[in-house]
C-alpha cells in the first residue's frame, strides 16, 4: 500500500470495454429517465386527481418504491416477479422496469410539488375564460410549473445515472460490470475502480454545472 506503483497502462488496454460499458450506462440512463418521467408525470397528476381511488393508488406506488432499497427492488423484479407471473424477463428489461418505476416515484413528487406551487389564481383565470380543467393544466399550469421543475428533475436524473451502477449485480454489462471483469482479469482493482469513478465524475460534472445555471436563471426570473 505504501509503495504502490500505479499501472494505468494495463487498464488502457481494456479501453474498449470501458467505452462499451459507458455506452450501456448512458443508454440505460436515457431510457430510464425518459420512461421514469412519463411514469412520474402520470403518478404526479394522479396525486392531484379528484378521485380518491386514483390518489390512493399513486400514493401507494410512490411510497412503495421510495421506501424500498433499489438493490432489493432490482433483485425482486429479476428473480421474484418471474416466479409470480411465470413470465421470464431478461436482466436488461428487469433493470429498465425497476429503475424507471423507482425514478418515477421521485419524479412524481417533484412534478406534483411543481404543479401545486403555481398559485390557484392562475387556474381560476383560465377556468374563468371557459377553459376545461385539462386545458388549464396543459396551457396555463404545466408550462409555468415545468420551469420550476427542471432543476430538481435534473438533480434526480443525475442520481439515476449513478443508480444504474446497481444493475451490474444482474450482470447487465454497464460500466461497473465491465470494470469488474477487467479487475478480475488484471488484478488491478485500484486502477480499474479509480478509472470507473473518474468516468462517472467526468460525465456528471458538466450536467451539475448546467443544473446550477438553470437554478440561478430561475431564481433571477422570479
Amino acid at each position: 500500500m505504501i509503495s504502490y506503483t500505479w499501472h494505468f497502462d494495463i487498464v488502457w488496454q481494456y479501453s474498449r470495454l470501458f467505452l462499451a460499458g459507458t455506452g450501456v450506462t448512458v443508454g440505460l440512463t436515457i431510457a430510464v429517465v425518459t420512461l421514469g418521467l412519463l411514469v412520474g408525470l402520470v403518478a404526479g397528476l394522479m396525486q392531484l386527481a379528484r378521485s380518491p381511488v386514483l390518489r390512493w393508488a399513486s400514493w401507494a406506488y410512490i411510497e412503495m418504491f421510495r421506501l424500498t432499497p433499489l438493490l432489493v427492488l432490482l433483485l425482486w423484479f429479476y428473480y421474484a416477479l418471474p416466479m409470480l407471473t411465470g413470465i421470464k424477463i431478461d436482466a436488461l428489461t428487469a433493470s429498465i422496469i425497476t429503475l424507471s418505476l423507482y425514478g418515477g416515484s421521485f419524479y412524481a413528487e417533484v412534478i406534483r410539488g411543481g404543479i401545486v406551487s403555481i398559485e390557484p389564481g392562475q387556474s381560476e383565470a383560465g377556468l374563468a375564460l371557459g377553459m376545461t380543467p385539462a386545458r388549464v393544466m396543459r396551457r396555463i399550469v404545466l408550462p409555468q410549473a415545468v420551469k420550476r421543475m427542471i432543476p430538481p428533475l435534473m438533480n434526480q436524473s443525475i442520481i439515476q445515472f449513478k443508480n444504474t451502477s446497481l444493475v451490474s449485480v444482474l450482470a447487465v454489462p454497464d460500466l461497473l460490470y465491465q470494470g469488474q471483469v477487467v479487475a478480475m482479469d488484471t488484478y488491478r482493482a485500484l486502477e480499474v475502480y479509480t478509472v470507473i469513478a473518474a468516468i462517472y465524475f467526468v460525465v456528471l460534472l458538466p450536467l451539475t454545472v448546467i443544473v446550477k445555471m438553470a437554478e440561478r436563471r430561475l431564481a433571477q426570473s422570479n
Binding site: E124, A128, G130
Partner: protein
C-alpha cells in the same frame, strides 16, 4: 322577461364547512345595467361573484346568465366540467390580483381565450386582441410580458382578456384594491367606458364615488345576506338600513 333581465339569481346558498357564507341570495340584473356590490370584508361578495361563474359551486338555488341556467337544488348540481366551462365562457371575470399568465406576452394573454376555448384562428384572435388592447389604451404594450407592466396596466390587460371572449356579462372583484392610488383612475376609466357601451356588469368595489356615478343600482351585503338594494344614489346618499349607514360612514369619515 329574458330580454330585460340578464342575470337572475334566486335562493342561492353556500357554506364553507359549518360557516354559511351566502344565505338565500336573490338578485336580478337588467340587461346593460351596472350593479355595484358593496359590504364589509367577509360578507360574501367574492363568493357570490364566484358562484355566478361557477368557480364556487353553490349548494342550492338557481343562476341564470342570458339564456343559460343552472339549478343547484336536488341532484341537478352535478354538471360536467365541460358544461361548466361552456357556462363560464359566457361570463367575464376580473380579479383583484390580475392573474395574468406570466409565461405569455400581453397579446397572447388576450388571445388565449378565443384560441383555446373558441378554436379561433390565430390571426383572427390576434386582430381581436390588438383591437381590445387599443380600446383599453395599451396598443403599444402587446408584445411585452406582464411583469413589465404597472398594476393599472396589468388590470387593463386582464379586462381586455375577459372581453376577448365577448361575454354576456362582466364580473369585477375589487379590481382596484391592489393598485397604487394614482393608478386606480385608469382602470375605473376603462370600466366607465364599458358601462357606457352597455355592458352588463356586477362590480364589487370600495370606490363609493365610482359606484354612485357609474352604477345603476347598489346592493349592500352583510353576513351572507342582501341587507339593502336600490338605485345607486339613493342607497349611498340616503340608506334606509342602519347597518348600511354604519358601513358607509367609514367611507365618509375617510373623506
Amino acid at each position: 322577461m329574458t330580454d330585460t333581465c340578464k342575470i337572475e339569481i334566486s335562493g342561492l346558498r353556500k357554506s364553507f364547512g359549518s360557516l354559511p357564507v351566502l344565505r338565500d341570495i336573490n338578485l336580478r340584473v337588467e340587461t346593460g345595467s351596472v350593479v355595484a356590490l358593496i359590504g364589509p370584508s367577509g360578507s360574501g361578495k367574492s363568493t357570490l361573484l364566484r358562484c355566478i361563474n361557477l368557480l364556487v359551486i353553490p349548494e342550492g338555488g338557481r343562476i341564470r346568465v342570458g339564456g343559460d341556467a343552472f339549478s343547484f337544488d336536488g341532484d341537478a348540481k352535478l354538471s360536467s366540467a365541460r358544461e361548466q366551462a361552456r357556462f363560464r365562457s359566457n361570463t367575464g371575470m376580473v380579479f383583484q390580483h390580475f392573474n395574468l399568465f406570466p409565461h405569455m406576452t400581453v397579446v397572447q394573454n388576450v388571445m388565449e381565450g378565443p384560441i383555446s376555448v373558441k378554436g379561433m384562428p390565430k390571426a383572427e384572435a390576434e386582430a381581436r386582441a390588438r383591437k381590445l388592447l387599443a380600446k383599453v389604451g395599451l396598443n403599444d404594450k402587446g408584445d411585452v410580458f406582464p411583469s413589465k407592466l404597472s398594476g393599472g396596466q396589468k388590470q387593463r390587460v386582464a379586462i381586455a382578456r375577459a372581453l376577448a371572449m365577448e361575454p354576456a356579462v362582466m364580473l369585477f372583484d375589487e379590481v382596484t384594491s391592489a393598485l397604487d392610488p394614482e393608478l386606480v383612475g385608469e382602470v375605473l376609466g376603462v370600466m366607465r367606458d364599458l358601462a357606457a357601451d352597455g355592458m352588463t356588469m356586477i362590480i364589487v368595489t370600495h370606490e363609493m364615488g365610482f359606484a354612485r356615478e357609474v352604477a345603476d343600482r347598489v346592493v349592500f351585503m352583510r353576513d351572507g345576506i342582501i341587507v339593502e338594494e336600490g338605485p345607486a344614489r339613493e342607497v349611498i346618499e340616503t340608506p334606509k338600513e342602519e347597518t348600511t349607514r354604519v358601513f358607509l360612514s367609514h367611507f365618509h369619515n375617510r373623506g
